[in-house]
Symmetry: C2
Subunit: 243 residues, 2 copies
């Protein structure tokens, strides 16, 4: 058993040290680790990564990645409808987050270094209150398709109850309509982390007759915890992290 | 409430259709969706993406991404040791997958179109049996650091019991040593999917005094299901998918 085997190690030789990396290499790896949730609880985009985040968000890749993610969700929704598990009397439900899922805060972050400066909560609240966020077109398209297919759609967001009117106006202005409910954070829930808040709401929904088939969000805190649904679909968002 | 708000939609205009994408754009988005587990149960790398996968795996990005992932894991392990939760009498455990986590199958896949051809299970078994896989250096470095810090290390793999000897020889030859146990698949477990198999083993471990702090793998089936541990760390692997 202890016979040694000559192993070819050349393909994995010489780990780079951080100082040897160019900003581009460092930030590409930063993005990979953010995307897959290896890197958590980061507060700002690293200074040297502002350009890579800006280029990604302004360029075509962000839209392509999102479009393909939502196409996967649509494929899953269609497949499920034709599966043996499908029972037309069940209230099959899809859950959507709002910020950078249904609505894009890119106009705001474009003026705030794409997340490379700490969030100014006063300015951000003003932006939300204006109700001027554009739709993410890939999400809107999925949303409309799911409605046609008679899925129940629930919006679940960490936005505050005080932002309800502005949120509804914004959603309607950019084309969203006919969701079943919009669940927001009450004043008593302000200090609950997003994963716990959203888990609790989803659990309540499941206990009350909603069967969650799909769950769409830009943060892992939308998609982890309890009652996440049969499948989760992660949109890219390298601009900020919500715990 | 029904006052309409003029929304600026220009940033999200005109979704691309698949046919408009270059291979590079399509495959970059394919990789994003594979990485975050939006795209599941794929059997081969799409033909047009073979080059992008080859370039990624042969180039520096694969090693940088892996190194940063394992650095995050090390940071978490260190932080935990100094946290108020730490209790020196507890058997704190890290779990590692083997294929493309501890050991690299890149030499095999280099001869098999980087996953763009269906797996030839006979040839693949021969490769495993030869015990010639190199170490992923970033993983080996984390493994050794965790041992120094007195974490218990368990190897949990979908490899078969019949591959135990070759696996142990290979691990030792490339520098792995002193793991607590190597858990492999029995003949009776061959048809269990990886998520269920690994969940069951982790649950058993937790029920028997092992507290899983970290869990390292290249497949989401290593890192989802039951008893996944406090934190999971996902290494990149765009070459194949294990359900």
């Amino acid at each position: 058993m202890m016979m040694m085997v000559a192993a070819n190690c050349s393909l994995q030789a010489d780990l780079p040290t951080t100082t040897e990396l160019t900003d581009d290499q460092h930030c590409t790896s930063w993005r990979y680790n953010v995307d897959v949730n290896n890197l958590r609880s980061w507060w700002v985009v690293p200074n040297q990564c502002e350009n890579i985040v800006e280029n990604y968000m302004r360029g075509s890749s962000y839209r392509y990645d999102s479009a393909q993610a939502m196409q996967e969700a649509e494929t899953y929704a269609r497949t499920f409808m034709y599966s043996a598990d499908y029972n037309s009397s069940t209230r099959y439900t899809w859950i959507f987050a709002i910020d950078d899922t249904c609505l894009s805060n890119l106009p705001y972050y474009s003026s705030h270094r794409f997340g490379a400066e700490p969030l100014n909560s006063t300015l951000y609240k003003t932006w939300i209150g204006q109700g001027k966020a554009p739709a993410l077109q890939a999400t809107l398209q999925l949303f409309n398709t799911l409605k046609e297919w008679d899925y129940t759609i629930l919006l679940l967001s960490g936005r505050l109850e005080s932002q309800r009117e502005a949120t509804i106006q914004n959603l309607i202005a950019v084309g969203y309509a006919d969701w079943e409910a919009l669940i927001l954070r009450k004043n008593t829930e302000i200090h609950v982390d997003a994963t716990s808040f959203k888990s609790k709401k989803r659990k309540y929904l499941e206990d009350n007759g909603y069967t969650i088939i799909g769950n769409v969000g830009d943060q892992w805190s939308d998609l982890t915890g309890q009652a996440v649904g049969d499948r989760v679909f992660k949109l890219p968002n390298p601009m900020y992290y919500v715990a």
